[in-house]
């Protein structure tokens, strides 16, 4: 489980990579955070903050979950979730009544991408879809928002402006 910190501005996004150097080698720029700073035997990329937390991020691609947690009412609740894999993973996002086994499966290299970036229906099948072979996607072909610079992420000047919500979001990944 990893802690997120800072303030995320309106429409702001940020990218958490497994390893900053590996991410940069593939995508051509550095991420906002990295989780395994020395994965693959590389030196830590000091200019990229390490996300605070722990967990094994080695992938076998048979069952990968990403869960965004929100701390509210004295407990953690699932806020958003992707379950990927050829092995069915339990998908229990808040608001989803049926808590059976769900997952999105992609073949080969793939990205699970939100269909409507401004919507969250709490139904993974509605919210996400596979994008095959993301390695073939060039940066030029991605829309601006796909790799927009984070807005206000590193602002640590006390209270957030606008709709200030006191939350803790946590990111976990399960093999």
């Amino acid at each position: 489980m990893y802690n997120l910190t800072g303030t995320l501005g309106i429409g702001g996004c940020f990218i958490i990579a497994d390893n900053a150097k590996a991410f940069s080698d593939t995508w051509g720029f550095l991420p906002d955070y990295e989780m395994e700073p020395t994965a693959g035997g590389v030196s830590d990329t000091l200019s990229v903050p390490n996300l605070s937390g722990s967990g094994n991020w080695a992938l076998n691609n048979s069952e990968d979950n990403i869960t965004l947690w929100k701390y509210e009412g004295g407990a953690y609740a699932k806020h958003d979730e992707i379950a990927y894999g050829t092995t069915q993973a339990l998908y229990t996002e808040v608001g989803l009544v049926d808590t059976g086994s769900y997952s999105i499966t992609c073949s080969g290299n793939a990205a699970v991408t939100r269909n409507d970036v401004n919507s969250d229906t709490d139904n993974m099948y509605v919210d996400f879809n596979c994008t095959a072979n993301p390695n073939a996607v060039t940066l030029q072909s991605l829309n601006t928002r796909d790799f927009a610079l984070p807005v206000g992420l590193l602002l640590t000047t006390g209270a957030a402006i606008g709709l200030a919500i006191s939350t803790v979001s946590r990111l976990t990944r399960k093999r």
């Binding site: 910190t5 940020f14 958490i16 497994d18 992938l59 958003d80 990205a111 919500i165 803790v168 979001s169």
Partner: protein, 73 residues
């Protein structure tokens, strides 16, 4: 007298219409705030030969800034 009643009726109708318009305006905005921060992309295996370039992209889709660590216990 007739004129006063007509004026009152017009005002009442305008008030009702205004309330309806307010509801139409407010309800979608409240729904949009329900989820503040979402996962937008999860690339699990972009580069097979060096398997650590996976990433997650997280975005704020609310109408305001979100403090991600404000209540860290």
């Amino acid at each position: 007298m007739k004129s006063s009643r007509a004026t009152l009726a017009t005002l009442a109708a305008a008030l009702a219409l205004g309330t309806l318009m307010l509801l139409i305006t407010v309800l979608p905005a409240r729904a949009a705030i329900a989820t503040e921060v979402t996962i937008e992309r999860f690339v699990y295996d972009g580069h097979v030969s060096f398997d650590y370039d996976e990433y997650v992209k997280i975005c704020n889709i609310s109408g305001g800034s979100v403090d991600l660590g404000g209540a860290n216990p």
